[in-house]
C-alpha cells in the first residue's frame, strides 16, 4: 500500500478542560482534493492549526509522507511542502501585493527565480493590475486572493484552504472554484467550506467534523443525503 501524503493518527487537542479535537484519524492521498465541513466549533480550524504546527497536538501523531511532523515548528512543516490560507486573511498588510507574493516565493531558489514565480502567480490570479497596491487598503475578497497567491507562490505539495470563498462575490466564488480545480491538477488540497453549492462545484470526497471528531467521510452526494449530517450540520446552519 502506498504511503498517504498526509495522515493523522488519533490527533487530539485539549485546551484546559475543553477537547477541541478528539482522536481524529485522517488520511489524504497524493493529488487528492478533500472537503472538510462541519458546524462552527467542530474543530476544523483547530485541526488545520495542528497540521501546520501552529498548535502542538496534546496526543496522537501527524505524518507527512510517512514522516512524523508532530510538534514540528510551523516553518519546518511549511518547508516540507504544506501551504495554508487561514480563515481570517493572513497577509502582510503593510506591503504591496507584489511584495506579499515575492516574500512567499523568495524562500528558496534565486532572486531571479522568485521574481519569475511572483510574476507568473500574479498573472495566474489576475492580480497584476493591482500589484503595486498596499494590501491593507484592498477589499476583503482581494486580500483573500493575495493570500491564495502567496500560498501558491510558495509551491507547496499540499494546499490547505480555510473558507476560501467567504466574503466573495458570486463571480469571485466561481473563479475560486475554477482555481481550486486547476490547482488540483498539480497539488493535493484540503478545503474547509460552509457553502454547499461551492463544495458541489469542487468536491469528490467530503469529511464531516462534529464535536471534534469525524462524523462521516464519504462521497459528496452520499454525505449530502446522510440524515445524520443534515441534523448536525444543516440543522445547525439553519439555526
Amino acid at each position: 500500500m502506498t504511503v498517504p501524503l498526509l495522515e493523522a493518527q488519533g490527533a487530539t487537542m485539549r485546551f484546559g478542560g475543553v477537547t477541541a479535537v478528539n482522536g481524529v484519524n485522517f488520511a489524504l492521498r497524493e493529488m487528492e482534493l478533500r472537503c472538510l465541513i462541519g458546524p462552527n466549533g467542530a474543530g476544523k480550524s483547530t485541526f488545520f492549526k495542528m497540521l501546520t504546527g501552529q498548535l502542538k497536538p496534546s496526543a496522537g501523531r501527524i505524518l507527512l509522507r510517512g514522516r512524523d511532523i508532530t510538534g514540528a515548528e510551523p516553518h519546518q512543516i511549511a518547508r516540507l511542502g504544506v501551504g495554508i490560507k487561514t480563515q481570517v486573511p493572513n497577509v502582510f498588510d503593510g506591503l504591496s501585493v507584489r511584495e506579499n507574493v515575492f516574500v512567499a516565493a523568495a524562500r528558496r531558489g534565486s532572486a531571479r527565480q522568485a521574481r519569475r514565480i511572483t510574476g507568473e502567480t500574479l498573472e495566474r490570479l489576475r492580480l497584476t493590475a493591482i500589484a503595486a497596491r498596499i494590501v491593507g487598503q484592498l477589499a476583503h475578497g482581494q486580500r483573500q486572493w493575495v493570500e491564495i497567491a502567496a500560498v501558491l507562490a510558495q509551491e507547496p505539495d499540499l494546499v490547505l484552504l480555510d473558507e476560501p470563498a467567504a466574503g466573495m462575490t458570486h463571480e469571485e466564488v466561481l473563479r475560486t472554484a475554477a482555481l481550486i480545480r486547476e490547482i488540483n491538477q498539480t497539488h493535493a488540497l484540503i478545503v474547509v467550506e460552509h457553502d454547499m453549492q461551492f463544495i458541489r462545484m469542487i468536491a469528490s470526497t467530503v469529511t464531516v467534523f462534529n464535536g471534534g471528531a469525524i462524523l462521516v467521510e464519504d462521497d459528496v452526494e452520499r454525505v449530502m443525503a446522510d440524515p445524520a449530517v443534515r441534523d448536525v450540520y444543516l440543522g445547525k446552519q439553519a439555526a
Binding site: E73, H75, G83, T86, N90, F92, D93, R107, G136
Partner: protein, 341 residues
Amino acid sequence: MTGWASFAAMVAAGLVVLLGLPLVFDLFGLLQMTVFAAMAVLALSQGFIWGYGGIMSFGQTAFFGLGGYTYAVAVMNMGDSTVPVLLSVLLPTLFAALLGYFMFYGRISDAYIGVITLTVTVILFNVVNSTAGDFYTIGNAPLGGFNGMPSVPPLNVPGDPSSPLDPQQTWYAAMGALLLVYILLRAVLASRFGRVVVAIRENETRAQLLGYDTRLYKLIVFAIGGGIAGLAGCLYANWGSFISPTVFGLATSAQVLIYVLVGGLGTLLGPILGAVGIQYLISVIGAQEMVNANLVLGAVLVVFVLLVPQGLVPVVQGLFRRVPGVRRGQVAEAAPVEVEL
C-alpha cells in the same frame, strides 16, 4: 526607481555633511556634531530593530554601554585602537545574539521583550556601578564603578597608536560611521533578507506559514542592532574620552526611544534627525535659567505626541506624496520599504 533616487540623494547629502561641516563649523560645533553623530548611530540601531524588525527593545543602551566599555577596556590594554573598535562591535553583537536566542527561541511576547531588555540594562547598570574597587581591573583598565573610566585613549590611525586622531578626524570617523551604517541598513533592507524582516514585522504567523524561521530572522536583526549600538558606544566613549555606568541608565534608554519616535518609526532618516534635534534641544535648554529643563522637555514631548504622532519624517514625506499620514502604532499600515528614506 524611487528607491535608488532617494538612496543616492541621502548618501550625497551625508557626504556633503561629512566633508562640509568642518569647513563651516568651529571646533566646538564640530565636537558637538560628533557626539550627535554617535547618538544618531545608536538611534539607527533602535530604529532598525524596532521600526523594521518590530522588536521593542527598551534596553538598546545595554549594547551601547557594552560597546563603550569594551572599547575603553581593550584600548587601554592594547594601545592601538583598531582591534578595540572591532571588539566593540563584535562583543555586543554576540551578547545580543545570546540574549536574542534566550528571548526569541523562548517564544517571549513583544511586551515582555521590552521588560527583558529593560531588565538586562538595569542589571548591567547595577553591576558596573559597583565595580569601584581595585579588584575590578581588567588588565590595565580599572572599571571604576560609578565614576566610570576617564582618559580613554582616542582612536588612532590604524596600526599607529602614536598618531591619535584630532577632533576633525574624529568627526570624519563618527560621521563616516553613521553614513556607513545607514548605507549598510539600506542595503540590508533592500535585500531579500530585509524584505522578509519587514514581512515578519507585518505578520509573523504568515511568515512562519510560508516557511520562514522567524525566530532566526529576529535574532539576526537583534544582533545587527546590538552591533550597531556597540559601535555607537565606541564612538561615544571616544568622543568624551570617558565612559560611566550612566550609559546603561533608564534615562539614556528612554531618550533613544524618543529619538526614534520623534523622527519617525519605520524610517531610517527619522531616528537620525530625531537624535540630532532632541540633543540640540536638550543642550539649548541647559543654557537658560528661566524654566526647569525637565519641564520644557516633558512639555515638548507631550505636545509632539499629540500633534505629530507619526514622527517628523513620515509627515514630511506625506506632504510630498499627498498620501494620508500613517499613524504610528498601526505599523501595519506603514509604507512599503522601497519608498522609505
